[in-house]
């Protein structure tokens, strides 16, 4: 099963779609998780996920705002999507009945 940070990274990359690359994923994680995301943690996790076949990466185009440097683009594979879905379902199942989950469900209804 995925780790928490791996799930955050895959979900953010999936949400960003074709615009998923290092800086955008980092910004997305910091925004949603409300915590700092170091470049080291981001890229070692990207490498690990790629090694497991959960994402693929390739070098994209260079832009002026990056000082003319290329982006490392990220795409979630089918295997990655299945792993993220499994993580999500386990979290949903394990959370059912917990006070914070019940209150949230009540608020939503």
């Amino acid at each position: 099963m995925l780790g928490e940070f791996e799930y955050l990274l895959i979900t953010t990359a999936a949400r960003l779609g074709d615009n998923a690359y290092g800086a955008a994923i980092r910004e997305g994680i910091e925004e949603v998780a409300q915590r700092k995301c170091s470049i080291g943690a981001l890229y070692t996790t990207i490498e690990r996920l790629e090694g497991k076949g959960l994402i693929t990466t390739w070098m994209g185009e260079a832009t002026a705002e990056r000082g003319g440097r290329a982006k490392r683009m990220v795409r979630v594979t089918g295997k990655g999507t299945r792993a993220a879905k499994e993580f999500y379902e386990v979290m949903m199942r394990v959370s059912s009945g917990a006070s914070w989950a019940v209150r949230r469900a009540e608020r939503l209804s």
Binding site: Y21, G22, A23, R26, E27, S38, I39, G40, A41, Y43, T44, M59, A62, T63, E65, R66, G67, R69, A70, K71, R72
Partner: protein, 264 residues
Amino acid sequence: MTSSWWSLVEFAARPLERDEREAVIGDSVEAGDSSWQALSGVLGFVLRRQLLLWKSWRPWLAAFGFAAPSTWLLMTVSLSVTCTSERLLGLNLGHWAPTGHEGIFMLLCHVFLLVAWSWTSGFAIGSLSPRTLWTSAALFLLLAQYLHRMYIVAAPVEAMHGAVAGGFPFHGSFPALAPLAPFLFVLPAVWGVRQGMRKVQLQLIPALLLAATITLLTASAWINNALWVFNWLLLCPALYLVATARRSETNRSRQVQRSERTSL
């Protein structure tokens, strides 16, 4: 970001591959990180990457299995070759002759073994874990400095106090060459490291021939009491080469079989 900080970030990112460097520094620039944040981010990534490499057995074997013992043993062999040469040349330079009865054949045998042991050790270190080569290099420098002090700096002082057997001969006539005597192995070792890092694949037959020749010459020197028992350890890199050549040959034949099956 000032250009000097920029250069520092670039320098810190040097252990990374080109594409990674591009992506990581580009991300920092795009995110508007301060120079300090960019530097600490890059250093953190490099550090994490290095630590992760040590989860594998390969860097451990390269540094502590091959680099450290080989440095120690090859330095003593280098000294031995130097001393035998000076004795055979008839130079009365001192008394330090650890293998004091060899003739020209045994000297040539030692020279060949020194080059072969150094090259195979370098090759094994370079191919096993090129990304942690700096650790093997640091170990080499530490050991070399210690042994150099022991053999070259301390030995003549001992000799002055009567421990003549410890004195190193080159001090008298070739003071400029004396510091280099224990490092005869460095050039072939560096050559081997470069070959190993380039992933040069030895074929099984040449690897076997090399290992067999080294074993025969080691045995011959051993029988003539011209080797130290620990010198047998220097066979390990040659055996490693044979093992990797055998593995790559097996992989190649498997690939051929697979492609034949798919074409059928």
